[in-house]
């Protein structure tokens, strides 16, 4: 191999044959880095669509009464927004993009365990996405049930529920395959010497997430299939006119969908655990506690689903049990926050953009998390159930937690993925715009919810107008901020300066190889017998050069 460093953008492995066409080289590539970027572009296209749908909904709610869209379209709009954001964006989100890209790099592996399966996951994801989009344009249009598909309405409505359900099933299958791939990779392909407790914490987040994907997704998959069978054949399992129990569907849906919330947040927490020590130039406080708490959240998160159904008919005893278990999830989460803040304590923090996003998330996620405890209390929730309070809560947790940390991770690993650096000034300004817009958009909803504004309503009473007006104004600021941020990143990718292998002085293995990495990542695999995040006097302790060397090519 020549001395000129060739990156994964220049050469790749494909699943079959040698393609001349650049596009074929991408969509048939089995290189985990390329698959990550495939996910990235498709996912953010859908993200853009869902954001626009949400903006239309907010615009409609700007003043009372019907302005732009009719009530049925509104029902379809919030379903579309939910289905895209949950199944197409945030569930695959961090694992499929950043996880795919970074897991082998952080473990010191040349690829994931099953590269072909990895590509298959992306194709399944595309099939699911196309199914969901197609249903927009045929028959009565997209499902209008909300993304939860509660029976019996999902059995009776005339819209294309079957399409949306099948799409969700296939997307779930793609997610399961990714989970299998990651668990096998983490068990088998760690660099020699790297024990479980020497893995970077992002990997720990992915590990817990993958187990949720493997064990919880099948339950919702089969439940969705049963709703499909209910609609096509009338098997009666969720149909009360045939003795079936619709609440059973709610249980089976949330057995998956509540752990899915932790599936989203755990890798995001992993990103925070990478960024905090890097920009504090300190070993992370409580490495083991953070690692174990990920697994604990995944474990306890399995047993809390009933808190979605306090008002659907549960016995008083089971409500109390679910409520107590839900409170318990806050303990490992609190451990993580404690550890991050303890890491920041007395550090000379470098407030670069990734760190800004992370600290911003600490603010918004604390609000999202603590309001979660409020709605987990049975008595309060009976009052707040299905109000804007809940909407604000989960947007603070998911958007202000998962997506913000995803943005943090995108800025943090941007130089590794592209080899270039974005403009720091614009990137940090974009953060402030989005942060302000976000709080303007969602905080009024807490108040509106407490005053009794129900969610998923197309219209509202005049006394709620002020809160809706502020929220809609906030949505514009938020959208502008998103455009600003993506423009900055795009310009960085096109015109940015070369970043070099390790612009942040970070310690984990992905920073020891050139940016962007070459095909199969490592020239030589290191022997890892040290902890991640080892800093001494603000400098990384271990510096390795693992790039391709003469006579060491693996091709």
């Amino acid at each position: 191999m020549s001395n000129v460093h060739k990156s994964f953008y220049d050469q790749t492995h494909t699943v079959f044959g040698h393609h001349k066409n650049k596009i074929l080289q991408w969509i048939f590539s089995i290189d985990h880095k390329r698959i990550a970027l495939l996910y990235l572009f498709v996912m953010f296209s859908f993200f853009a669509v869902a954001v626009m749908v949400a903006l239309v909904m907010r615009l409609e709610l700007f003043s009372p009464g019907q302005d732009f869209i009719d009530p049925n379209t509104y029902n379809q709009a919030f379903t579309l927004h939910g289905v895209i954001m949950i199944f197409l964006f945030i569930v695959p989100g961090i694992p499929a993009v950043l996880g795919n890209f970074l897991l082998p790099l952080q473990l010191g592996a040349r690829d994931v365990s099953f590269p072909k399966l990895n590509l298959l996951s992306w194709w399944l994801y595309m099939i699911g996405a196309v199914l969901a989009v197609t249903s927009l344009f045929i028959g009565d249009g997209f499902a209008d049930t909300g993304w939860t598909f509660y029976a019996p309405y999902s059995i009776k409505t005339g819209t294309n529920v079957i399409w949306a359900l099948s799409a969700a099933f296939i997307l779930g299958f793609a997610s399961i395959l990714t989970g299998i791939n990651f668990v096998a990779t983490i068990h088998r392909l760690r660099a020699p010497g790297m024990t479980f407790f020497k893995m970077p914490l992002f990997v720990w987040g992915l590990y817990s997430t993958s187990w949720i994907q493997i064990l919880a997704t099948p339950v919702v998959g089969i439940s969705l299939i049963m709703v499909v069978l209910e609609r096509t054949f009338g098997i009666g399992i969720f149909d009360p006119t045939k003795g079936g129990d619709p609440v059973l569907l709610e249980h089976m849906f949330w057995i998956y969908s509540h752990p899915a919330v932790y599936l989203m947040i755990l890798p995001a927490f992993g990103i925070a655990s990478e960024i905090v020590p890097t920009f504090c130039r300190k070993p992370i406080f409580g490495y083991h506690a953070i690692a174990i708490s990920s697994a604990m959240i995944a474990g306890v998160g399995y047993l809390v689903w009933g808190h979605h159904m306090y008002t659907s008919g549960e016995s008083e005893m089971i409500k109390l049990i679910f409520s107590a278990l839900t409170f318990f999830v806050a303990v490992p989460t609190g451990v993580k926050f404690f550890d991050w803040i303890a890491t920041m304590y007395k550090a000379s923090i470098d407030f670069k953009t990734p760190m800004l996003w992370t600290i911003g998330t600490f603010v918004t996620f604390i609000i999202g998390g603590l309001t979660g405890l409020i709605v987990a209390s049975v008595g309060v929730d009976v009052y707040l159930h299905d109000t804007y309070f809940v909407v604000a809560h989960f947007h603070y947790a998911i958007l202000g937690g998962v997506v913000f940390l995803m943005f943090a991770g995108m800025h943090y690993w941007f130089p590794k993925i592209t080899g270039k650096m974005y403009n720091e000034k614009h990137a940090s300004r974009a953060f402030y715009v989005i942060f302000v817009g976000f709080n303007l958009l969602w905080f009024p909803m807490f108040i509106a919810g407490m005053l009794g504004m129900p969610r998923r309503y197309f219209d509202y009473l005049p006394e709620f107008e002020i809160w809706h007006k502020i929220a809609t104004f906030g949505s514009w600021v938020f959208a502008l901020g998103l455009i600003y941020m993506f423009t900055t990143l795009y310009r960085g990718w096109k015109y940015g300066e070369k970043a070099g292998p390790n612009p942040w002085n970070a310690t984990t293995l992905e920073w020891q190889i050139p940016s962007p990495p070459q095909l199969e990542n490592f020239g030589e695999i290191p022997y890892v017998d040290y902890m991640p995040y080892e800093y001494e006097k603000g400098e990384p302790v271990h510096r390795l050069d693992l790039s391709v060397k003469e006579k060491k090519t693996h091709e």
Binding site: H13, V112, I180, A184, L189, A191, P218, F233, G243, D245
Partner: protein
């Protein structure tokens, strides 16, 4: 994938100079088995969820379920159980033969497994068409006029045996694929993990039936 994989395992050395082998992701027997076991877990969760639904309604409509169970043909169900039991044995034998490098024997046992699986499906077909002939299928007017518990029993019966039958069909397809791989020599006495995983899958399909059979046929 690169064809020029070196046969030498890659070695790295720690500070004391001890050698450690790097796992080659292209050729990782343990990884392939681990991955398939994880897939088996997801299958267990899928069928587990269905058993959960069954249990939920069994306790609500015990009498209806027992009466409906009496409608099913226990002899045919029993024969099918026996057939799957034998097929699990032949599947396992084909793996043993392949590992002993008796390629033709191994292929023969896979063929026997395929035939047994087809017989299973045929018997299942007769059972289903008997019920459908009587007007008992999900959404039928006859069934809708019956008790709630009966409707749910047959709804679950067709769903669960259908899902199981789908797994049998997929299994037959996989076995044909494995036969082709053995024929081309890609699966052989040293590289047999594909056949091993197929056998694992077949054991799962068989085990699921071992639970499906009693809960539908034997609760009377």
């Amino acid at each position: 994938m690169s064809n020029a994989i070196s046969n030498e395992p890659e070695i790295v050395y720690d500070k004391q100079g001890n050698p450690h082998e790097v796992v080659d992701f292209n050729n990782d027997y343990e990884g392939a088995k681990l991955g398939f076991w994880l897939f088996i877990f997801t299958e267990i969760m899928i069928f587990g969820a269905m058993f959960l639904v069954f249990g939920f309604y069994l306790f609500q409509f015990s009498q209806d379920f027992m009466d409906a169970s009496n409608e099913l043909n226990r002899l045919l169900g029993g024969i099918n159980t026996f057939i799957l039991l034998i097929s699990a044995l032949t599947m396992g034998l084909s793996l043993v033969k392949l590992r002993n490098n008796q390629v033709n024997e191994s292929k023969k046992y896979i063929w026997i497994t395929i035939i047994l699986a087809t017989i299973f499906l045929t018997i299942k077909y007769f059972e289903w068409s008997h019920e459908i002939h009587l007007g008992i299928y999900p959404g039928s007017p006859t069934l809708n006029a019956m008790e709630h518990g009966t409707k749910l029993f047959f709804g679950l019966y067709f769903t669960m045996t259908g899902l199981h039958g789908l797994h049998i069909i997929i299994g037959i397809g996989v076995m044909f694929w494995v036969l082709a791989l053995i024929h081309s020599g890609k699966v052989n006495s040293t590289d047999f993990v594909v056949l091993e995983n197929t056998a694992l899958y077949w054991d799962l399909v068989h085990l699921v039936w071992v639970f499906v059979f009693p809960i539908f046929y034997l609760i009377y």
